[in-house]
Symmetry: C2
Subunit: 263 residues, 2 copies
């Protein structure tokens, strides 16, 4: 029974960092894992493969009939990695790369292989066009939103939960990727319950995570015995074992503003 | 001769804060000013009108034939304010609100009124669909990008300049909205010249700006004699007097990464 999860959140909030590190944990545990980057930044899998891999969109420019090995690249501990990529800004839909990538992987029967875990890392600044595909087309069964205690990321989380509601999908939980701002835990805790979900796990802010990234590695690979790795272990486990979800109750913009102001 | 400028930048970087404050300066100088919010967040004009105004998209749900006064609201010192709004996340294009708003204002002959300044505040996390309209359709002649020294905002700035290049539009300059990170001035200075533009002005990080926002006012209105207001005065002047622009030379993702790493 493949665990298919989509990770959404504001740009820069820490989706790729979270996705790559929990994927590394799953791979260490011997789980057959597929990571699909659905962010035009196309850098989700950089720390898993040690460098940026070719995107599906760019590969298709040169090769009209790509095989699996032209689109999927093996990374740390055999994790299979795909980057959708995106069209040039200003032209068509930024999410078009995701639509194209999903179709190609579908046609190559990638989704019928027996992966233990499939993780989608999806841009969440807008929830439209290709970026809603993982939810809309049921490529993912569960959605987690990465946020910090900052207003901007909560605004995005609220917006994403509107998309989830609209697309009749389910919200499994909030991943708190700490920025260390004031009252952060309390703010995110209360926000989560206001939108009818809960915090599934928390990752503390840590320089080690950034240092590993500069070395194009996950902290799980580079600092295997660190507290940081233990945190990702716990989060990966909690996500894997979690089989609950809810229909979110997004807040009106004014209500979200008022909520945030009282802190 | 109407000065028509578009302000782009990553979500949360400070576009609305910059736009509302320079608009307030123009209005204080007696310039007939129109501010058009092109961000689904629809809060560009909140500090100019003292509260959130109805968006064009929402107004159209109830009123199929809106007049100017249903879409344009007067704010601080007579500034005329419009919020495009956006469709529900997950449905259609997030930028659709901008397309709809522009058409409506066009049909009501708003653009043929003799404004001295028209400022577009545009989401820049993706440069597609409606969000490229201010550039594509020549609603704006000049584009400025707001950035800080943080990688995420520079990545977005670089992406936006790709959109500008693709749409055969012009980049007038970079507005440095400081986050106070290390080597910020140097990083943004060098980035600007690498993409063939320059820093048009800088706004320092200041609590006063946030305090004013909590009071739904610009710092120009609430703290008229402050250094912060003087900074916006200088920026507004420099933007108004600036009549230069360039074709940007966006960097490849890898080149941008390397550039950032050396700091
Ligand atoms: N818990 C953390 N501690 C320290 N730095 C982090 C943490 N999570 C993310 N970062 C850093 O923040 C930046 C943005 O993270 P990233 O995962 O690329 O965001 P996203 O994929 O959401 O755009 C990266 O430089 C990353 O190293
Ligand atoms: N120079 C500044 N100093 C302090 N706070 C700022 C500054 N510029 C913006 N901010 C704050 O940052 C947040 C995001 O700014 P905003 O203008 O809404 O961003 P955007 O419109 O780009 O999404 C706001 O809370 C705003 O008050
Ligand atoms: S659907 Fe979303 S990603 Fe696609 S063009 Fe519209 S705003 Fe851009
Ligand atoms: Mg990412
Ligand atoms: Mg804004």
């Amino acid at each position: 029974m493949t665990k298919k999860i989509a990770i959404y959140g504001k740009g820069g909030i820490g989706k790729s960092t979270t996705v790559s590190n929990i994927a590394a944990i799953y791979a260490k545990q011997g789980l057959k894992t597929l990571v699909i980057g659905c962010d035009p930044k196309a850098d989700t899998t950089r720390t898993l493969c040690g460098k940026r891999i070719p995107t599906v969109v760019n590969t298709l420019k040169e090769n009209k009939k790509p095989e699996k090995e032209d689109l999927i690249f093996k990374g740390y501990n055999g994790i299979q990695c795909v980057e959708s990529g995106g069209p040039e800004p200003g032209i068509g839909c930024a999410g078009r790369g995701v639509i194209v990538a999903m179709k190609r992987l579908e046609n190559l029967d990638v989704f019928s292989e027996n992966f233990d875990v499939i993780i989608y890392d999806v841009l969440g600044d807008v929830v439209c066009g290709g970026f809603s595909v993982p939810l809309r087309e049921k490529y993912a069964d569960e959605t987690f939103i990465v946020t910090s205690g900052e207003y901007m990321s909560l605004y995005a989380a609220n917006n994403i939960s509107r998309g989830i509601l609209k697309l009749k999908s389910k919200l499994s939980g909030i991943i708190l990727n700490s920025k260390g701002t004031s009252n952060e835990d309390e703010i995110v805790q209360e926000f989560s319950s206001l939108i009818n979900t809960k915090i599934i796990g928390k990752i503390n802010r840590s320089e080690l995570i950034q240092i590993s990234e500069l070395d194009a590695k996950t902290v799980v690979e580079k600092y295997a015995d660190s507290d940081e790795t233990k945190e990702y272990e716990k989060l990966a486990q909690d996500i894997l074992n979690y089989n609950n979800y809810s229909t979110p109750t997004p807040l009106d913009d004014e209500v979200l503003e008022e909520f945030f102001k009282k802190f």
